[in-house]
């Protein structure tokens, strides 16, 4: 620790000394058409062989010696731009890159190559790639695409969340414009909440976490929304089988202020309503309504006050809703009027987030960003039964509501300091106030009934304050050796208790040849939140709870080592191994569930540990007509809890020995492109009873013969998660046809999800098949699968 501190001080000091005869070029790299920031663009001085990349605001700062310098500004998919600058003072300018055609090998140098970067276990997803791969029902999905990368998978069809290097779904820090999203799923995980049309960039970090990130053990998924077109109005929309979406963007004040709004809604409920009405024999006396939909709205305003100050305001709101309503009326001959009996039940969940950011450039070497954010995630389920003659005066009114949620208010200040080309220093602080509502139930029994109840039970609301400080330096030590050193110090105050954690982070990159490097990283992580989730199927009923005495903060350590090789023609190979430990994990007690109403969550959980290790191989082709990747993961993930599985080690439910993914697109010509995805994964672990036996009944008990029906056989579980489901594999195929019109562009997308109709396991249980009509049906172990082959078609426009 001592050495790291002195290294940082030395680095800062030397940079000041060395900067005396140098000047700094700073500014933003933007898209020429829209003026949107380009994140990760490369700025390179060929003579000096030094460069930098733009940060998440598109900002760059590069300090060079006095005199003439030739700079190359480049980014994948854009025409590179050369610029000669005569440095005799600090210069500030913006570079506008023009979107270009496929340019061949030059594009390979357009972004920082993997083997040059200190980043390890990090992948940037191109939005073009996300949009061109085939997907379920034509719904383009960032998280589903991310799950095609090695080390990441989505559990099973129908399970929410993603699982990174053996971690749970709560261990992923999913940031939308810097604000954490707690439930990133629609429809139990079939779709994510991110509307691809509204997204600018996605970066996924699985290990070697820079110090700027904290609060989760397993991954960071940093998503930035489009800023809005500063120059002209733009619209993009699509009509699909289950949903439609629209994105509008444009200047409010040209080159000064822009907006972006996008919306998406499913319409399964509207399309299916006539069928549901027919199936339920709706009549004048009986009406029923069943449905499901989700929607999301994104919006962003980007205001450039002047060259040194910018403001970004972004918001997201999304919701899933299931509902079931029925009404029955009959004529009451005693009171000579209609009596109504109604019931409503349903569940809904959704996120709301808001962020306001102020970018301020103090000087060419120092940029700051102040963020004020708010987020609210709620899950509500419940029912209400009423009987009445007059709805305002019910005879009987019984309702139950179950709420869980988490609300955050935060303020964050980040500084980006570029003292010299060899140093990129970032430091900052963040304060978050969490308000947890972990499973609060309310029963109301009212109306004209004799007994009235209005009662709230379950857990009380808990507030906690989390704050952290961090500092990191991306330091080019020699031409071959570079490092990212950092410290993250996080703190939590909850229930008058104080927890803290000092987390050192280091990532080293050593260039072996002009195309290859070896990498090594260590990251210590602490998480002050837990997600209490069901082990059978992931549901929105999973709820967030704070670290407390009973559930201490989760702590993790990860070591990763890798080899990166950038080949010619855009091929890149990365091979990584990792070992990760996770302490203070929580699980439900045996027999408990979220329906254990009336129980405080702390009384139905167990605390234990987990660990994961494995190797990942990723072969990418970044440019050319054929592009995409092939990934392979070999991994082991285990858990151990003192009071689960009799204290024995057991495999994590998503322990996946082998995982293969192939995601390729081929651009035939300007009109046609095709995409293919094939995935294979070892079956998930499952706790499945194997044998059953007679339970003990007291031979002296005279009532045994009466109670025999109430003494069911005991189903014996040999061990937790000791059964392997059949393996999962699936082929998706998609074709996109683009047509340029005078007014814009039209794209028809045709897709086949699960093209060879593999029946992949969703869950497994003992029971009877629905088509077994024999007088004594045969009991079987049955597998329930969700999706056979599903074709899709969508129509998208852009103008």
């Amino acid at each position: 620790m001592f050495k790291i501190k002195w290294l940082l001080i030395f680095a800062l000091f030397s940079s000041v000394v060395l900067a005396q005869n140098k000047y700094t070029i700073s500014g933003y790299v933007k898209d020429s058409k829209s003026s949107e920031a380009i994140i990760g663009a490369r700025i390179y001085c060929q003579e000096l062989e030094i460069g930098t990349v733009t940060n998440i605001y598109g900002f760059f700062s590069l300090t060079l010696p006095e005199g003439f310098n030739n700079l190359l500004f480049s980014y994948v998919g854009y025409e590179p731009q050369k610029k000669e600058v005569n440095l005799n003072q600090n210069i500030n300018f913006d570079i506008l890159l023009v979107e270009g055609q496929l340019l061949g090998e030059i594009e390979v140098t357009a972004e920082e190559l993997n083997h040059e970067s200190t980043e390890i276990s990090t992948i940037s997803l191109s939005m073009d790639k996300v949009k061109s791969l085939p997907v379920l029902l034509g719904e383009v999905d960032i998280l589903k695409t991310a799950a095609l990368l090695p080390g990441i998978h989505s559990g099973s069809e129908g399970s929410s969340g993603i699982y990174v290097r053996g971690g749970g779904p709560d261990q992923n820090l999913i940031l939308l414009d810097g604000v954490p999203i707690y439930n990133a799923n629609h429809l139990f995980g079939f779709f994510s909440v991110f509307n691809a049309d509204a997204i600018n960039s996605v970066k996924i970090i699985k290990g070697g976490f820079p110090a700027r990130y904290g609060g989760r053990l397993s991954s960071v998924i940093d998503i930035n929304m489009n800023e809005g077109n500063m120059k002209e109005y733009l619209a993009e929309g699509s009509i699909g089988l289950i949903s439609s979406k629209l994105m509008l963007s444009g200047p409010i004040i040209k080159d000064k202020m822009s907006f972006m709004v996008s919306g998406r809604r499913t319409y399964i409920d509207i399309l299916a309503r006539p069928l549901i009405n027919a199936a339920n024999n709706n009549s004048s006396n009986y009406k029923t309504k069943v449905g499901y939909f989700f929607y999301d709205l994104n919006g962003k305003i980007n205001y450039k006050i002047n060259d040194k100050n910018r403001i970004y305001v972004s918001a997201y709101m999304g919701k899933d809703k299931f509902y079931l309503e029925d009404e029955f009326k009959f004529y009451d001959y005693d009171s000579l009027k209609f009596r109504y009996s109604t019931s409503e039940a349903g569940m809904n969940w959704g996120n709301k987030i808001f962020a306001a950011r102020w970018n301020h450039q103090y000087n060419p070497k120092l940029l700051s960003n102040l963020t004020v954010n708010f987020s609210d995630y709620r899950f509500v389920t419940g029912f209400e039964n009423q009987e009445y003659y007059d709805i305002n005066n019910p005879e009987y009114d019984n309702s139950f509501e179950y709420l869980s949620g988490i609300k955050d208010v935060g303020i964050k200040l980040d500084y980006y300091y570029y003292p010299a080309p060899k140093h990129k220093i970032q430091f900052g602080t963040n304060l978050i106030n969490h308000k947890f509502s972990p499973g609060v139930g309310t029963i109301i029994s009212g109306g004209n009934a004799d007994v009235k109840v209005d009662s709230t039970f379950g857990s009380s609301i808990t507030r906690s304050n989390e704050f952290y400080f961090y500092v990191e330096d991306d330091y080019t030590i020699t031409k071959r050796l570079s490092a990212n050193f950092g410290l993250h110090f996080s703190n939590l105050i909850v229930n008058d208790k104080y927890y803290n954690s000092l987390q050192p982070r280091v990532a080293l990159n050593y260039v072996l040849t002009e195309n290859s490097s070896v990498k090594l990283s260590y990251a210590s992580m602490t998480q002050f939140l837990h997600l209490l989730s069901n082990s059978s199927i992931g549901l929105p009923t999973d709820f967030w709870v704070p670290a407390t005495d009973k559930t201490p903060p989760q702590r993790g350590h990860q070591i990763a080592a890798g080899y990166a090789h950038d080949f010619k023609k855009g091929y890149a190979l990365s091979v990584e191994g990792y070992y990760k430990t996770m302490n203070n994990l929580i699980e439900y007690q045996e027999g408990a569930s979220f329906l254990s109403a009336g129980k405080n969550w702390e009384s139905i959980i167990e605390v234990g540990r987990g660990w994961s290790y494995g190797a990942e191989v990723l072969l990418e082709k970044k440019i050319g007509k054929l592009s995409g990747w092939i990934g392979y993961t070999l991994s082991w993930t285990n858990r151990q809890f003192e009071n689960l599985n009799f204290g024995n080690i057991y495999p994590y439910r998503y322990d996946r020995r082998h995982d293969i993914s192939v995601a390729l697109t081929y651009k035939i010509n300007e009109k046609w492109d095709i995409g293919v995805v094939w995935v294979y994964g070892t079956g998930n672990s499952l706790t499945l009873p194997v044998q059953q036996y007679q339970q003990y009944t007291n031979p002296n008990n005279q009532n045994n013969e009466f109670q025999y029906w109430w003494n069911p056989a005991i189903e014996n579980y040999e061990a937790k998660n000791d059964y392997r489901m059949p393996s999962y594999h699936r082929l998706d195929f998609g074709v996109n046809k683009h047509k340029t019109k005078k007014w814009g562009e039209v794209t028809w997308s045709y897709g086949l999800y699960n093209a060879y109709s593999r029946q992949n396991p969703f869950y497994i249980e003992y029971g009877y098949l629905p088509n077994d009509f024999a007088p004594q049906p045969t009991k079987v172990l049955k597998q329930i699968s969700l999706f056979p082959v599903i074709p899709s078609i969508s129509y998208a426009i852009k103008f």
Partner: protein, 301 residues
Amino acid sequence: MKRITVIILSSFIIFSCQKAIEIDRDTIKPKLVVNCILFPEEDTVKLSLSESRDLLYDKGTFPFVENASVELYENGNKLGDFDFIDGLYTYKYKVKKGSSYTVRASKEGFDDVTAKTFVNTPLTNVKIVTKELDNSSLNADITINDVLNEDNYYQVTMQWSSFTEDTAIINDPFYYEPWLNMYSCTNDFIVEYPQSDLLDGSNCSDKFLFSDETFKNSAYDIKLFTPVNNYYPNQEGYKTQVIVEISSLNYDFYNYFITKSIFQNNLGNPFAEPVPVYSNIENGYGIFGASSVFTDTTIIE
């Protein structure tokens, strides 16, 4: 709550399709199942020996194992062999407190099974006062004096029965009413099963299980109460009698009882975590435990 479950499941069923998965039933070899609880107050040890079956077996009862060799050992010394009578293996012997017992069972075609357990000191020093309050509820005040220097585990139950002095009814099995478990409640916080309901701070169940962890070697008071409609007293021609039963369970039986009760409560709940039921039978299943029972009967006039 059921409705919410239906909604969650139906949302999946809309899409789902099902198929049977092959199970190689030949690889699932039945095991011997021993169910035997030792009662120090009885003079005969009774043991049930049956076969386990795979989960595709779809009959309510399990075949008994006849003609097996079943032996009982006390503190490592063999006492003798069990006899098979009327579906049960019996051995005439009164087990002793503070002794450990081993049972071994073998039968051709099955793996031999062994189990070991310890007999705790029977409960003797218990005070129970059962009384009805204002014809509205029945209260039982129980004082347990924990047995010294032992880990003890307790189960408290209440049962009730109506009886009549009309011999015609007593002799007619149609009218004869057996003892029925009584659903009662407690506000006691040390109860391990069931866990308390935060709605009203109480636990209600037909049985309560707790250990002596918090009152080792000392006395402990626990109160049960039940509303009048749980036992229907004062029916014409009948009297009501109530039994409060305190069982002292040993470690094995206590763990079996708790895990079995939780398992049973969660049957059919797809959201509940699986519950492995405790078993101390090596190479087999079931329970070999010990218990002593103290009862108090009160007639409600």
